[in-house]
Subunit: 981 residues, 2 copies
């Protein structure tokens, strides 16, 4: 179309387009109003802007919360008038306030705006002292508590006197109350750290005087930013001055004009205009452009008194500027597209020998140093503690299970050693050091089946396992050099969410299962003290022990019986513990002999308490209490603090809850095996080859488990900057397979939930910038240090046993539960499940709900639920061994969804598969063309679609579009009509 711009926009385009190389500094704006305090005139700070407005609460003597400046149309129009009629001094050479004031007043006189005899009076007013909000008024200290009820009236007297006072300038000490150097108050002001370093100040001075008959308006831009003594609250050099003095009676209106210019000065676009304006008309054009863009709220639907909280996101200055420079828009989109295409760069050479591995190494090497020193941060400590506890709990759990499954060929000791070894190696050399390796369920099941098979066929388990490991390692290498990791391109959100939800559910159900099983500590239900009876009592002496134990049994109505036959002639056992009884040949008979009272409920309290305390402390970050830093610390260390609290509670209660038991001696769990497995000699030679078949299963298992976890870790939501390393990761997992097989240690692969927990505990947010601006998620503290420390600590845990033994298992299960639940949060699948329970009108405003009909969303969710249910059922049966194949099944289901759902819906609910990408792109283009006329989507949404589809669309911003159609002609028309009224 034809590019039509309004005259104002045309003008701005000209001046802003001139020199784009030097970005203008950020402006800090302070508005001071003229007050009569204690019989003297002074300028009192009344509001300030970094990005949003903060007002001084007169009565409360405090800063208001930062809020969006709501203006009236009036004030903006009046400001425009002020700029039209007042004097504009651009690039004034100024070195001190008196000189600047002199120049301003002289110009006004020269322009004939004020009579020359007012010069002294105006200068006097403009050079009065500035009082900032930081400085507490002296007359209101706590000392005068007794008088303060009278203070109001005395203050009132001052006010009555003051208006007449300031008419006599000689009464004040000097013409100039303002010092040249920043005061200590200014320098000590902590607010300084909220202002960007390069910032310059703009000062807005608004006052009422009685010697003027019409307003005195001046807009000044200094040639250089200059520190003008105590003019500004903070020691920031002043670049702009806006002065409005007027006759009495219009304070409210003057204040509104002041707020309007202050709001304009902090506007990205107008501040650029102000810096680059060549004359008055440029400034007016800036105001007009601002007026063109304002958002209007109807008076009946919004109360102007409501202070609007700053939004999470504001339109970027670039986007708004691009509207003016239309030809630049193409470039912008181009670069945005480039960034979106960045992911492709990481997997660029699908058909070159080991090309992926080589690229991974090339990508990782430059980051290696920073991978170490980026780890030095307090957050790392909490992350290490958290992940360490998760790891040892995992090591103990899987160690115990593996020990059961393999007759202790692999036990807790092997589990600890293996975790430490594999984890450390992976974190030092791996491609994505944020991934945490761990034993996983499928491998456990494989080992179990393998051990049973070898035992029943008289094959040496350890040797067979070694060969499977070696084959699997080799197969991994094959996958690495053939760049098979490109399959991750087919792992869309559907697969990711399905997999990680499944793993989270397993975590949660494991944690709960362990708690509700009550296996070792049942609750005693039928207890009645009266029921204590002797159920059997035979010959008095010899069966004494039987009687005694049956007493205990009856006491708890449980069946536990200690049988001991003492020779009839033995002396009466006066003091005989259960242990001694057992020593003399007694035996505990019954299934509840380990019953201990109170343990079940205590365990429940520890478990649930740890979980809920962790959740509450995590949430504490968003409460209003305590300073931000302290809250962040509490939130970061929430898990550690919960564990400590409940370990403390457990110690206080002194109950015999099941505790964490780590091996204390460094030796294989089974005494008949060494630390090294020999590859030859025990099995027939053909097993060395045949083992490649089960190895294939292991390889698929490891490959899928590893890569999908890596995909989840490398999600773009995590904003990782150091790139991924799928090939390198797989390479090291392969190497570790071989090493662990040789040493008879369990095999390790990426653990989804713990890796997510690792990432979560290392998330960075921007330090608070301008007041009211939301802290932004910056990314993850990507480094190798936390991982290395976690695994070194795991290795050292053998020596930490005396400390660790105080931790009750229920507390650790609570941590498990938290991990599982936390890794579910933020998953879109989960949000979509919740939608089932919400009536449509209460559903949150998700962007996919705006674009996909609810029943399609529900259908998609249902498919995911069914997939998950099927996976869950399979996982619970012996079929668990083909778990990796089931993930491949997820990929197939996703592929089939292309038949049921339109690519448009899938783009919103999932990602587009690679081969559909091109088709969708075309589809979308034609559709866009057609839709454009109907209802163009918002920039943000369009952007989201773009990234989703990895497209380089060149659709122009819709915002632009409207403006082109309507701006120029209409406004002229409006003004003509409006003037008639």
């Amino acid at each position: 179309g034809v590019h039509l711009l309004s005259p104002a926009a045309e003008r701005l385009r000209h001046i802003l387009g001139e020199d784009d190389s030097t970005p203008t500094p950020t402006l800090f704006t302070e508005m001071d109003t003229l007050q009569h305090e204690g019989g003297e005139l002074e300028w009192k700070e009344s509001a300030r802007w970094v990005k949003f407005e903060e007002k001084v609460e007169e009565g409360g003597e405090r800063w208001s919360k930062p809020h969006v400046s709501t203006l009236t149309l009036h004030s903006l129009f009046e400001l425009r008038t002020c700029l039209q009629t007042g004097s504009i001094l651009l690039d004034l050479e100024g070195y001190s306030l008196p000189q600047i004031v002199d120049d301003i007043v002289d110009r006004q006189i020269a322009d004939g705006l004020i009579p020359p005899d007012l010069k002294e009076k105006i200068s006097f007013v403009l050079l009065r002292k500035h009082r900032h909000q930081t400085k507490k008024p002296i007359h209101r200290s706590l000392a005068d508590i007794g008088k303060s009820s009278n203070a109001a009236s005395s203050k009132f007297m001052c006010h009555l006197i003051s208006p007449s006072n300031h008419q006599n300038p000689a009464q004040s000490r000097s013409m100039n109350d303002i010092s040249d150097t920043p005061s200590t108050d200014q320098l000590k002001n902590k607010f300084m750290k909220k202002i960007p370093r390069d910032a310059e100040a703009s000062n807005v001075l608004i006052g009422e005087v009685d010697f003027l008959e019409k307003p005195f308006v001046s807009f000044v831009r200094l040639a250089q930013a200059t520190t003008l003594g105590g003019l500004t609250e903070v020691p920031v050099p002043t670049r702009f001055l806006f002065i409005l003095l007027g006759p009495h009676g219009k304070t409210k209106s003057y204040n509104e004009i002041g707020r309007a210019i202050a709001t304009l000065m902090v506007d990205d676009l107008f501040s650029d205009v102000a810096y680059k304006a060549r004359d008055r008309d440029d400034l007016i054009a800036g105001v007009d452009e601002f007026l063109d863009e304002v958002i209007v709220l109807p008076p009946g639907e919004w109360d102007p008194k409501i202070r609007i909280e700053p939004p999470k996101k504001v339109p970027s200055a670039e986007m708004r500027k691009s509207v003016l420079n239309l030809n630049e828009l193409g470039q912008m989109n181009g670069s945005a597209g480039g960034a979106a295409g960045g992911e492709d760069e990481e997997l660029p050479a699908p058909h070159e020998f080991a090309g992926g591995l080589w690229l991974d190494i090339k990508r990782k090497i430059p980051w290696y140093c920073s991978d170490i020193y980026d780890g030095f941060h307090i957050q790392s400590i909490s992350a290490v503690l958290f992940i360490y506890l998760g790891c040892i709990t995992n090591a103990i759990t899987f160690g115990g299970l593996l020990g059961d499954a393999t007759d202790n060929y692999q036990g807790v000791m092997e589990s600890f050693l293996g975790t430490a070894l594999a984890g450390t190696v992976f974190c030092v050399f791996g491609g994505q050091p944020l991934i945490i390796l761990s034993s996983t369920g499928p491998i456990l099941i494989f080992e179990k089946l393998l051990y049973e098979f070898s035992k029943s066929n008289d094959i040496d388990y350890m040797e067979l396992r070694l060969w499977i490991g070696l084959h699997s390692c080799l197969q991994c290498f094959l996958l690495v050099v053939s760049d098979a990791s490109y399959i991750i391109k087919y792992m869309t959100r559907f697969t990711e969410e399905g997999f990680s939800s499944l793993i989270s559910f397993i975590f949660i159900s494991d944690a709960i299962k362990k708690m509700v099983a009550w296996k070792y500590y049942p609750i005693n239900r039928g207890f009645k003290p009266d029921y204590i009876t002797f159920q059997s009592a035979v010959a008095p002496v010899s069966t004494f022990c039987i009687v005694f134990s049956s007493v205990i049994a009856c006491l708890f109505s449980l069946s536990c019986r200690l049988l001991l036959h003492l020779p009839p002639s033995s002396t009466l056992a006066l003091s005989l513990s259960k242990k001694e009884c057992v020593k003399y040949g007694g035996a505990l008979v019954g299934n509840s002999c380990k019953y201990v009272p109170d343990l079940a409920l205590m365990s429940f309290i520890l478990f649930f308490g740890t979980y809920s305390m962790t959740v509450s402390l995590k949430k504490f970050k968003f409460s209003r209490y305590f300073p931000t830093k302290l809250r962040k610390l509490i939130s970061d260390f929430s898990i550690f603090m919960s564990i400590m609290s409940f370990v403390g509670l457990d110690m206080l209660m002194g109950l015999d809850t099941p505790k964490l038991i780590v091996p204390t001696e460094f030796k294989p769990t089974r005494s008949d095996r060494g630390w090294l497995v020999m590859p030859f000699g025990k099995n027939p030679w053909w097993w060395y080859l045949a083992s490649s078949v089960p190895a294939l299963l292991v390889t698929i298992l490891i490959f899928m488990d590893q890569q999908i976890s890596a995909v989840i870790v490398n999600r773009k939501e995590n904003k990782l900057k150091k790139g991924c390393g799928y090939h390198l990761d797989l390479f090291w997992v392969g190497v570790l397979m071989a090493v662990c097989s040789f040493m008879g240690l369990p095999w390790y692969v990426a653990a989804t939930v713990i890796s997510i927990a690792h990432i979560d505990s290392l998330k960075m947010e921007s330090e608070s910038s301008a007041p009211g601006e939301q802290p932004q998620f910056l990314g993850v503290r990507e480094q190798r240090l936390t991982g290395i420390l976690v695994f070194v600590l795991t290795g050292l845990s053998v020596f930490l046993a005396p400390v660790l033994q105080f931790i009750p298992m229920p507390v650790l299960y609570g941590v498990f539960l938290y991990m599982g639940v936390a890794s579910l949060s933020g998953i879109q699948f989960w949000e979509r499940i919740k939608l089932y329970l919400m009536p449509a009108k209460h559903q949150p405003d998700f962007s996919f709900l705006r674009h996909v009909p609810l029943r399609r969303v529900h259908l998609f969710t249902l498919v995911q639920i069914v997939c998950l249910a099927v996976l869950w059922i399979l996982k619970s049966t012996f079929l668990a061994i083909i778990f990796p194949v089931m993930i491949l099944g997820l990929l197939v289901v996703r592929k089939l969804l292309d038949l049921i759902f339109s690519q448009h819906d899938l783009a919103w609910l999932d990602d587009i598969l690679p081969d559909k990408d091109k088709k969708k792109k075309e589809d979308d283009k034609t559709k866009k063309k057609e839709r454009k006329a109907v209802e163009p989507e918002s920039d943000e949404e369009v952007r989201e679609i773009w990234t989703n589809m990895k497209l380089n669309s060149s659709l122009p911003s819709t915002h632009t579009q409207t403006r082109i159609l309507f701006s120029p002609k209409f406004l002229v028309n409006f003004c003509r009509w409006r003037a008639k009224c």
Copy 2:
């Protein structure tokens, strides 16, 4: 000042002032846009407004959430142009759409705006079918799941074809797709109940056609609202029509104009103008007035894509209209002041004999019938259950304690009977039936001291008590007839909050104390199964029982021993329960013989579980899940559901937790007393007179306790409509004193916490009105039925024992804890305590923080905390008996605060004492005068101060003020300048 109004405002003032008697109907606005669907033209609903905007999400096929319409200045200006140039048909006689369309097009032709040959085409377009969002598109049913991936492209084909289609009107079935009668879809639409009954519709039709060269604009007001078939989504008669058809290529802009007119139509002020406009210029003036009032958001601080949630409160239409009719403002303030002064009306005659009592009765009689039938509501059931459980718990607790204190002269039975009797009488006849009577702590302490005194002095306790009660009753009557209840005027928020916080703390601490005491169920700490030993074993047969019991003792490491000496010759006891053992002369020795395992922790779980489940279910009302009604039900019945759940859990576990035990037989607890106490005969005669001295103490106690609870119940925040009855309340409390004394029942007085719980459970909220409007708190379901039912049930509880015995005490303590915590919420004192822990910048935006310096707020809070601490300490000692005097002390402290705090600060933090009222009023007036020029406060704040101070201030709205100063001259100026650009 001079009343200057802009020409537009002048015009509006004229037309709106004409006839204020008939309020204009509410407008429902629907915006339909022209679409080409399936090869045919049709009007598709794209947004609707009741008060806020709801947009049709095209992709999502759903309604958006209601939001504030954010407009652009452009669209408003363009709309103004449209109204300037288009045809305006006011008071058109219309009976069907074809006729109306005919008239519109004819007028356009007559005005020379369109050539006559377009008539048929335009009529054809305007008479196309209207599709509303309620109707689901057929082509997207679930049946075509398999095809839907192709649906997009086929739909796209339709769109390509359609633009050429509609040029041939003959292709369509008829000229008129619109039926005359409302369709079933319309009638079935549930949205109807969101629209007020008197509502009329305004329809906005926006479309693009290719036969027009310039826009076709028409604004129609029908003489009578007429149902025009399927034009509107709901069967609401149409009054206004706005039609905008234009050439292709400007859809976005047309839509924005449509949104602008729709927003204007639902604006209170503009809709009035639209109803009363005499010509085009009136409408333009309406737009101008709207523009004058709009709120402007700067583009750099707000993203126009954000949908703004409807605010909790919008400026009232009256306030906005009053700006136009300045002379009406004075009247408005007058009436507002009258409402504020309403409270005085209730206590108007301080010096007339029994004047207060008489007025109370006069005030209450007219409400008596509604007091009964207002109780028939489902909410009453939950309230009755909740309060009933609170009452019987209280009755049992105090009954038990009274029994201990008076050697069962008053026990649980008396407590039940007394509660039922006193409560029922009070609820039937009392002045404020929402108050719940109960035994209270101070009375308990008084009874205890009295009983000890009479026992040690050989005085008959019951007779003495009777005389004290009689004297006290008499003294109460004296207080009633002397209208002493006027003291409540000195009970400001300071006293209320202090008292109710104290009572809440007592509730909370009692609940927790009972739980952590573990008196009857200690936790067994040192249990080790191995320690089971025989500590003593003497002669085998005779002391068998000793051995056996020592086994139990050791088992739990507790000291409990059953001693039994059987004669040496007796046969061996083969089966001997503890009971039997005791029967044979054995004795339990030791202090932990009642130990039962697991009970402590189970009780803790029941207690804490009941509390937290109640809290969560209460909060559930604000969640997004399930329909609003269900959530409200869950929230209302939260306490009942929690109790049921944990009673169920307790039954499931089958543990012997302490249960609620109510007396089952109707007889005095102590068998040597009857149901009636005789006044004479047991004590010397002079006691009958002397007892008036202790009676004085009781009277003060009862008076203070009763009246302060009543003040809290009658708080204006509760919006009670049926008035208070302090004198009547006190009269009946006095009567009940006498009755209870005669029957030997405990004395009863208003219980703060339970009364607050009663009020809370009866709160009413407005049914959801316009979408997006917040439900308003309407008041409390004021009636006598719930109270009566509660106490009748309490009386019947003697027969409900078989059911009630399943309720474990810890569950009831949990309910107690909830009551205490809930009655703390919403107390400003509590909010102010929290401020101590918050950094200033995170503190909520309380209005008192804007006006009172933080250190003064903290000081005030500190004074309250100290008072509370002193009260708490006194309460815990024997001084508790002078508790009522301490409340008088609070009044004194409050009086002293006048010396430390200014009346301005106190007005914000507390209320003004009666005698300060006048002074403050004057103070404030002068201060206001002075401040007016500096920073006028918002209307709302001013209003708040007004109510706080019970003043009839005549300060004009600041909004008005600004407008007067600036409106007219400026706008003309602006337009002139603007036209130049």
